[in-house]
Amino acid sequence: MLSEKPLRKADIITGVILLILSAAIIIEALQMPIGGTFAGVENTWYVSPASFPLIIGSLLAVCAVYLIVRAVKLEGAKDFFTYCLSQIRSSLTHPAGRKLVIIIGLLLSYIAFLSLHWFDDVSNTVQRLSLHHVYVFRYLATPEGANYFSSSVIFLFAFTQYFHRPAGGLKGWKRHALLSAISVLFPFLMGFLFSEYLKVPLP
């Protein structure tokens, strides 16, 4: 969790985002059928599909305003923007921040890769970029290639290669061999368990 000062600054940002969100909810809810008739029965606002989102949206707006007012009271809004910018800059250069970016990047690319073959134009892009000369790329862009197994192996391999550096652990080719073995073995075992034994068709 963040400490007191950045937490209050963050509260202002989330408060503003929540205010915009609640406004969007209310506008969207007002487009829903509120009056008129429904299946021949006269509709009233409180039975309409819009009533609940309207109430939630207004309550959310109240909470957001409270959050902003509280944050400004506790810490003040002075130097708000310069403070935020410096925070972002320092968190990106800080090792923990870099780790965070890399983990999120790995997770996102994992599922992006998992769903590659749902998009027809991916294989076309591979063709256009002349990547199809490289067999691996051509294979990975097909439904048989970009599946649960290959994407999980790549994810695990990248993740462990980057993060698993214990002090006094294995070094050199032994480490690579161990990590490769783990990254192939786990997806294989889990894939086998789920698709063969539990009859879950994996992507």
Binding site: D11, S51, L67, I103, I111, P203
Partner: protein, 495 residues
Amino acid sequence: MEHFTTFFTSLGSLITPFNCFLLLFTVVVGIIFGALPGLSATLGIALLTTVTYSLNLPTEASMLALMGIYVGAIYGGSHPAILLNIPGTGAGAATAVEGYPLNLKGRAGETIATATIMSFIGTVFGVLAMLMFIPILSKTALMFQSSEYLLLALFGVLICGSLTSADSPVKGWIMGLLGMLAATIGMDPMHGHQRFTFGVPELIGGITPIPVILGGFAIPQIIQTIVQSSKKDASSKPSAISRVWPNFKYIYRKVTVGIRSGLIGVGVGSIPGVGEDIAAWLSYDVSKKASKEKEEYGKGSLEGVVAAETANNACIGGALIPLLTLGVPGSPPAMMLLGAIMLNGIVPGPRLPVENPGFIPQMSAILLMASFTMLICGFLMSRVSIYVLRIPVTLLMPVVALFAVIGSYSFDFSIFNVYLMIGFGIVAYFLRQMAYPIAPLVIGIILGPMAEVNLRRTLIDHSDNLAGIFMRPISLTLILLIIGSLFLQFRKKKA
């Protein structure tokens, strides 16, 4: 009385070699889950639900497996807490404060044994509470009308928001509101109007809680554990454990602490979405304030371990009470359990005793069996369980990510749920950094439809006379509870 007879008959029919083996296996897995930082009871149940569902196990076997994981994981956090000062779960954090100093004094064996016995007693306390309160609550729940359901849902989201929030309670309420908002996505339950779907066909069916729970509890944990992991691994050697045996005279003397902690555990457990970690801390705080040996606390007080461990396990039974009678889960693991029970075609709520008469006594019997298995496994594993902590988190966490992906995919074979899980998980990490609790959001998603349908029904029923809501005794009680808890929150802040 009929409830008790069904309880004993189902207990008898449940004791088969297969069931005992299954329970033994899942309790051991549960203790390992509890011992490993980053893996929790919620996650254990979530991941195992995938397996039991896909295996097509009969309902009683799935429930046995899930309750085994639940009880094991809540207890398992105490082992590394006492031996290494690393609480495996939030529920074990209070134990670490007192248990580790005791270990340094060379009393690790006695402490672990006491924690095991008290966890067992706590769980049994939960079973007793279930047997006593469920029949009463079931009868009351049958009298509920739409206004009571609406108020119950609101009260649940409200109290969960204020109790789980580390910062202002408003943050918890915001998460609860966002959860209820997420629940409105899809087809409107009364008119069939599509709301907030933005033309995305996957959204018409609405958002299911399972990927949200998996994302909300697994992904932030993965990110946090890896970001905080330093190059030095926790391979510190645990000290040798003396004889693992409790001092029964001491336990007998602490019987009041045990009963008080059991009551606190059951009470906290029955509050929607507020779970084992808060039960342990609250009970620990209360016994610290009431204790005659206050100066012992913080330096290794066995009484503190007794209080925390009894309460966190008593919480399990407490959490099952509202889950089974009202369909309102009492703790984060119980939220996942709700999903698992519904996957088996059983809908927890007031109609449960009518539709599946044997189910509630059966759950109590399963919890009792799980507590005995935990007692045995706890003693047997006390010397070995901490070795699982040798598994480096940098290897464990990506595998958990793999499980979360498969888990969210395998319920309805939809890649959309995987996107939802990862997307929400990453957002949840940042929300947690900004002190927004995750549990109220999930409670909001679960109780949102209940709140909405009953709000609209209440307004139809009472359209000519809204004051009628205040004339119903249960409604009035709930309204007073809501106003009371709101008032309490704002008064506490001024003080």
